[in-house]
Each structure stands twice: as C-alpha cells, then as structure tokens.
C-alpha cells in the first residue's frame, strides 16, 4: 500500500520546476474551472452533491480519524511483519529455471518466478505440482 504523499511533493524530477508550479495554483482560478470541467469528461453527472443532512459532520470526522488511525496502525503492523518475514522470504531463483518454466509452461516471467518462489526455488517440484491435476472431487 502506497502511503499518500503530501500534495506539494511530486515524485520524479522536481527541482527547478517547483517554483513554476506554485504560481499556477495561486492564479489559476480560471484554470481550475477549466480543469474541473475537463475532469467531468465522460462522467455521468453524479447526484452526490445532495448531501444527506442527517450526516453528523463531527461524527464523520471522528470516524475518518479512526479509520486513518487504524490504517496507519495496520500499515505499521504490516511493515513490522514484513521486517520479520523478510529474511525468510529471500529465495534464490535460478534464472535458468525461470527460463525453463517460461518456455515449457508458457508462463510470464513474473508468474514463473512466483511459482518457483512458492516452491522454494525447486524447479522439479514446481513443474510437478503445476502439471498434476487438482484433486478430483466427485462434485461437479
């Protein structure tokens, strides 16, 4: 999950252009309108401007905070989990094996690598499992 960037940070080559960007935002009331109009291209008009009056704004704000908090906590937890698992997950995959899988099973390179990793890089067992039909159940 990509963390949301603060709005004024632009990825990639930003040096030099940043200064140019700021005046745009400032003076572009017109541009904004144009952009807004452009934005609604191809979009059926939403009736979501009609806000339910029953919504408790304060409650929404709190709910949002909670959600963000939970999200951040989750992310942090996930990160921790990743850190712990990371050393285990390094599986060396032989490129020759990947090529073999790509060639024999007609998988994409990414899929072939995934398959190999799922079998701890063991090409024989990867191939074996791949061609074995799933347990045949009597149902359908």
């Amino acid at each position: 999950m990509a963390e949301t960037q603060p709005p004024n940070i632009v990825e990639g080559a930003t040096t030099g252009d940043i200064d140019d960007e700021i005046p745009v935002a400032a003076k572009s009331a017109e541009d904004r309108k144009a952009a807004a109009a452009l934005s609604s291209l191809d979009t059926p008009r939403d009736d979501d401007t009609t806000v339910t009056k029953d919504v408790d704004r304060e409650a929404v704000r709190k709910a949002m905070d909670r959600l963000a908090g939970a999200g951040a906590a989750n992310a942090a937890a996930a990160k921790k989990g990743d850190d712990k698992q990371a050393p285990k997950k390094v599986i060396k995959v032989d490129q020759a094996d990947v090529t073999l899988l790509v060639d024999e099973l007609e998988l994409s390179k990414i899929k072939a690598t995934e398959l190999l990793k799922a079998h701890d890089g063991n090409v024989t067992s990867a191939l074996k499992v791949y061609i074995t039909p799933p347990e045949t159940t009597t149902a359908t």
Binding site: D20, E21, E30, D48, D54, M64, L67, L100, T124, K128
Partner: protein
Amino acid sequence: MPQPLTSKESSLFRQVIRNYEDKQYKKGIKAAEQILKKNPKHGDTLAMKALIINSQGKTDEAFALAKVALQCDMKSHVCWHVYGLLYRAGKNFEEAIKAYKFALKLEPDSQQIQRDLALLQIQMRDYQGYLTSRKAMLTSRSHIRQSWTALAVAYHLMGDLSEAESVLTTYEETLKNPPAKTDLENSEAVMYKNSVIAEQGDIQKALDHLESAGKHNLDRLALLELRAKYLLQLERKEEAAEAYRALIDRNSEYKLYYDGLTTALGLKLTDHKERKDIYDGYAEKFPRCDAARRLPLDFLEGDEFREAAAQYICRMMDKGVPSTFANLKHLYADDSKKETLRAIVQKYIDRRKSDSSEETQTNGDASKGIPAALYFLAQHYNYYLSRDLDKALEYIDRAIELEPKSVDFHMTRARIWKHYGDLQKASDTMEQARALDTRDRHINTKSAKYQLRNNQGEAALKTVGMFTRAETAGGPLADLHDMQCMWFLTEDGQSYARQGKYGLALKRFTTIYNIFDVWQEDQFDFHSFSLRKGQIRAYVEMMRWEDHLREHPFFSRAALSAIDVYIKLHDKPLVNGMNGVGEAGGDDAAERKKAAKKARKEAQKAEREAHAKKNEPNKLKDADGEAKKQDDDPEGAKLAATTEPMNDAMKFVTPLLQFSPRSIEAQIAGFEVYIRRKKYLLALKCLLAASALDKEHSQVHGQVIRFKLAIDQDREALAPKTAEIIKSEFTLLPASTNLTLYNDEYLARHADCARRTVSALKIRRLLSPDKATSCQEDTAKVINLPSITMEEAKETLELLRSWNSSVTDSFRSQAAAKWPRATVFTASS
C-alpha cells in the same frame, strides 16, 4: 511547465471542453485551432484536440498528437489524463493506469483523475490499488454514503469481510437520525451488510441483524427468504417451517421453498407419505398450482408414483398442456418411471376414446386430450432414453391428423426427422411448422437452426432476417452481430466448418470470442453506476459472475470448434489459403486449381473493396449516424491463411483450459494443440487431467500412446529437467510397456464399443503401418457391432474417408442400410 493563456483564450479552452462533452467535435476542433494559432505549443489544448480526434475515430493521429502535447507540457495533468483516456479508449488498461497515476501525482486533488484510476483498477482486479484509491476518495468526500460503501466493497472483493463490515458500521454510526424507511439506498445497504455478515459464517449474527436493522427492509422477498434460510441453518426448525410456509403462500411454484419446508419439518427422503401429504395440502389450497402436484413425482415410487402420475397426467392432458412431456422427462432417468408414464398415457388415450364414442362429444376435454396424449407419446419415443423413431413418427402423424395447425406437433415431427439423420427433411418440416405461425420468434429461430444444420446458410439467414432490425446497415448478419446472437453465430460457424469453409468458420468463432471480451468490458460502466444507484448486492454478484464469464457453454463450444478447425488447418494446410472446399471434392486437381484461382481473385477483390472503404471512412454510417468500423476481413480469409494455426489456436485454448478444466473435451483439445507445438509438459498436464476424468475414454487412450511415441522420438531435444519430470510423472504407461500389446489389451477390453474399437485400430495403424489394410477392414467391421450409434458410424466414415480407404464405400452402404433415412450415408453423386 504551466502555459498561461489570456482570458479570451481560457474561455475558448473551456468551450473546447464543452464541445467535447456535447460531442460537437468539429466546433471543438475549430476552437482548439483558434487557441493554437496564438499558442501553437499549448499542451492542454493539443491534448484536448487529440481527445476529440480520437472520438472521431482517428486513433493513430490522436496518439501522435497527444505525444506532442506531452512534449510541450510534461507537467500538465491534463495532458497525462488525456493520454490515459486514449489508452483507456484503446483498451490498453495497464498503460492507462500508469498515465492516470502520473496525472494524479501532478494533481493529487483531482477527484476526477482519482475516480478514473479507481475504475480502471477494479476493472483490472487490482484490489490493492483499488483499496488505496477508495481510501483516498473517502478522505476527500467522507460525507457521502457512496464513498463508504465503495470502500467496504473494496475490502469485500479483496476477501477482508470483517473490515468491510466495520466500514459499513462506522458509517452507520455517523448518522444522527436513522434514515427514512423509504430510503432505497439505505435499504439496499442494510441488506448488503447482512450478506457480508452471513458470508463470514456467523449466521446467528446475520439473523439478529436481519431482525433488527432489516426488519422493515424494502426488499421484502429477500428478507423473508434469508430469514427462512438462516433459521433453517440455525436448526430453529419450527420457525423455519413457518417462514417457508409463508413463502409458499407468496409463491407456490418455487421448488426451493418446498425443499426448505420439508427439511425444516425434519422429514427424511424416505418418508414418502408424509412428504406427499404436505404437497397435497398445497395442491388443495391452490387449485391452479402445478409444482405441488408435480414435485412429489420426483420422490414417489411404485404404486404411489403410478397413482400420483396418473392424476397429474390426466389433469394436464385434459387441459391439453403442450409442455407436459418437458415437465416430466427428467423422470426418465428411472427406467420404471419411464415405462409407467408411457403406460399411463396409453391408458388415457384408450379411455378417452371409449368415452367419446359413448358421450358423443359432449365433453369438450376429449378434443384436447387425445392430441395432447398422442403428442406426449411421440415425444416419448423421440426422447433419447426411450427412442423408437418409427413409433414416434406414427404418433405424431396421428396427432397432426387431429390438429393439423399445431406448430408444436410439426416441430416435434421435424425433430424426429433430425434424429433419423434426414437433415433435409428435418429442415423442410421445421420450415413447414414455421409457416403455420410466421409471427412466432421461437419457431422462426428453430427453423433457421435446422437450416444451418443442413448447411443451408443463406436460407437460414433469410429466415432469421424476418426478425432482425431492417434498418441495420449490412443486413441481417450485421444485426445478428450487433445483437450478439450467439446461437446463430455458433451454428453458422459449425456449418461452415462442416463444409470446409474454414475462413468463415473461424470468423464466426472469433466473433464469439470477441463478444465475450465485450461482456467483460461491459462491466466497466457498472463500477460507478451500481454504486451510484446503491445496488450493491447485485454489483458484487455481477463482479463474481464476470470473473467466471468464460465458463459459459457458449464459449467452450465455440472454442472447441475453433480449435478443431485450427488443428485441421495445421494437419492439412489449405492449398489455396482461402475458404477452399476442404475435402469434399478434393480429388480433382483441376477443380482444385480452379477453386484456388477463384479464391485468389475473391481475395483481391475483397482487399480492393476494403481499401476503397478505408479511404472513405465516413461513407458508411448506420442509422444512428455513427461511423462503423470497417471489417477488413469479412470472409475470414486472413484467419484461414495463417501460417501458425497452432499459435492462433492458443487464444482459445488458454481460456478454455482455465475456465473449463473439468471438461474432458477441453483437455483433449488442449493436448492436441500442445503436442503439435511440442510443449510436452503442457500436453502431459492435459493428458493427466483428462485421464483423471475418464481413463478409458477412447481419445485419451490414443493420446497416451501418441504421447509416448512423441517423447521417445524427441528424447534428444528435451531439456534434461523436462525429461526427468516426464519420466517421473508420466506413469500412465510404464516405460517398459509394449505399446502394441497395450493397445491390443484395450481393444479386447472394449470390443463391443465402436468408438473405442476405432480408436484402438487407429493406433494399431499408427504403430504398425504394414497392417494398414487389415486395420481399415477391421475398422469397417464396427458397423456390425450391435451398440453402434449413428454418430459413431458417421465418425468412422469420416475416418475411413480421410484414409482414402478402399472399404469406405462398402462401409457407407452398410451404414445406409442400417440407417436408411440418414442423409450422411447416402451415396454422393
């Protein structure tokens, strides 16, 4: 770089956008050019112009221009957004996602870009990305219910049910007042939440939620059904029985309600008497109810069955209900029921006859009853489990005598001819039936289908043409394409395949393939539409359906047929590279040359025409005024001219194997393609799957031996690891097996089955070419097997023909003697 415009030009720019929205493309381009005159390098304007050009159908130009726009203004989110929209229009969703993401980086607050991105992500099933987008969208518009529901759906589709539920709950908690009872969106949302709870397996909680929050839900039926279901699952049987009784009172024709009720009452499958009593109660309560009278026939046996069936049949015959046989034919799986039903109907006829002679026609029922009963018997003898075509024909003729104007009767008569194998007569008879009611679409469809089966393509098109939209440019065929009329396209393709017109056949099958793509594409609109309308349950159901779209038999049927054609093209490439007549009169070299020449000319002509049309793209417009894309290969010549039929076939093989892995035909077809492509591991995968489904299948047997031969031959070329896997996994045939012996054993085991015998003889011919003649003779002998079916004989005849065997003709005449009416066995002049 920002490129400011003067205020006059800014307003012009806004006009461009408005023009685009209103589809006033020419005006839009004019306005854009006005801006560009002064600011020739204005990126946003260039981009808008590109977008408009694209809408006019000039995709290549549009892309070129959009690239120029980007070069002029790399930092404009408008340019990137347009670039994404172009990719999106071209269905290159991955590139579109990249472009949108870039646009979003430049303009993180743009809700529109964010929304477009989210829609693409869910279309591509990028659940993680969709979740991120939905979270961002919720942050900016947290006051609308839709944003919350959408986030919940994102979690739901990802499989995180509890998180989905908690998002929904969080929103509910923000409401000051409970929504009005008439609020449809809320009503749907409550039921959606209930389905999320139930999917987590906590039935008690789901029931509690249903009884509290859902108590006054607007979807009354769903409420009642779910409640009954939950109560049953929770073993609260009395309440469940009550609930199901309420449902039956609402709709007394729905089988599941009765099933629910009997389960709730704890009745065992063997409690025939008690179960019958329940149905009888309802039959009495609802005098017009069919289900309560018919369903007990499924479980009753012996005398009880006889009695109940007699009552049911009498009632239906008296009314002259034409669908009686269709209602009952599922019972034919049981031999004794099959015989009982026949006897009952026969008795009915006898009794009616004596009645009518006594009462001298005072009873109006007799006039309906006897034809209906004769009709039933005709269908009985036409049905594959109780087939006796001569008797069927006799009964249907008697029925027609009584009611010469009945469409149904004539239709069954045509079907009987079909089963005789007389396709010409079947088609003629169906046409006769159609003439009795020219305004009935069903009989029209049937007639066209029978014509296609008889390879009368043009006549069939004319027949369905009576029901297609007359205004469509391109005639009935174009309308059938527009309307995605799958059955016609499939039958038409199979008819062309039979006639050896492989180009046209592939054309039709490819159309089916494309229609499935369109269906996948169609869901796009619903990602936003369903949320806006609040139809969440239906939306989730649709998403799941879309994920299994190509499981549909329409797809597998077209795919199997297409693969079959491609295999034929691979094994025996067309001489003329066109829709040549494949095998029919292929012996005559001069004729073939002529055909080739003609085909070449046709191809050139078609190309010229296509070229001419291309140069005037605006000429061909249909009634809606929209330019239609020109088909540059209407005859499928390019498809048939392929030099790599096996690679082309993969387009069908991959989805077929992915979505119908339990179909043995699919696995067999997959093997045939993979072995020709020398992809031995994948061929083995298909072979293993097929043999797990049916080890003794005639084709699987042949494939096992052919696989062994192929790997023995190609041993040198195999990668060492591949060879190792094949050695360890290909255990169907031990390495030391003597193939000839193995084949002979199979042959001995299945000496009474024509299809398997032929398969084994085919292999014997392959293993020992010196015995070819005796193999052919033995193959021809299968005609003497008592169990041989017409279909098997047909296949055998085709095989003998492909061998150019000397016994072909004697086989044909023997078959003709056995099935005198079948057109396939009549001597070709």
